[in-house]
Amino acid sequence: MRRILWPGGVALTITGFALSLYLVFIRTAVDRELGFTQKIFYFHVPCAWVTFLAFAITAASSIVFLVTRRTWWDDLAYSSLEVGTVFTTLVLVTGPLWAKPTWGAYWVWDARLTTTLVLWLVEVAYLLLRAFIEEPERAAKYAAVLGLLGALDIPIVHYSVALWRGMHPSPVVMAREGFGAGLPLDFLVALLVSLVSFTLLFVMLTATRLRLEAVRGRLAALRHRANER
């Protein structure tokens, strides 16, 4: 089963990205107001979506781990968060590159930007916690609690635009007027294809990371066996 799923997933992801780049750069129009800079939106938003998805998976897995104490759930939480951190970093890199030509500054202390930075700091703290606590069981327990606390920032990031009126644009996909109401159809289609491609990439990367955690578990068992006699 894995022999079919793995190459299939890779092929789907590559096809998704090729289609997405074609739609973004060739099929969709150049925005009249923002010009070519608007193209950053098609990859910036999916990176943010993956950040939310990764943290939600980490929070859910952490709850299950704290209840059942099965290490597979802890491995999933760790893998998802590590991959999510890559995408949060990309959100924090691509956002300022959009902001500079649009707002005239790379960074402003807007609510959306600040809460996203806080989310990234929580992710880094989680990874540092895992790296510096030597006892695996203790590290897993503390990390699960931190993962749950950090997840509280997700709704704050999402609703920050509505709660505090800052400079960041309001949601255009999950808009108040309806799904995708804030976008022309060609823009929406390109964005949805990008969202699917990034989600596939996230799933592939997390699955790979999860397999490596299983190998690490095997290595720990071998080390234990080697020291036994």
């Binding site: 009249r32 010009g35 590159l97 071998l222």
Partner: protein
Amino acid sequence: MVADTCTGAWRATVLSVLVSILFLAAAAAAQTGVDTTAWHGAVIAGQPSPWRNAHFVLLAYGAIVVGIILYLWRLASFAGRLKRDVQTLERMIEARDRGVGQGRARSDHP
């Protein structure tokens, strides 16, 4: 080993930037002929070109490509290290078990 890996990473980075530049150049060339709803390719004198901030787009897409490649490289090197460690330990345990087995066989011999 480290030098090889660093060279590989540099090559991957340079290659991704080159591919991004080529792709954007091709996209920019193709864009003028496409029927668009917002901008039809004609630059009116006195108005700024819609392409004026294209380097920010190049940087953003380049950052995403480089970021993902660097993470894949990290995963690959981590997988390689784990595989080497597992093989070393397995060989060590096997050799030790064989040694113990031979020792027992020798001591059992009358």
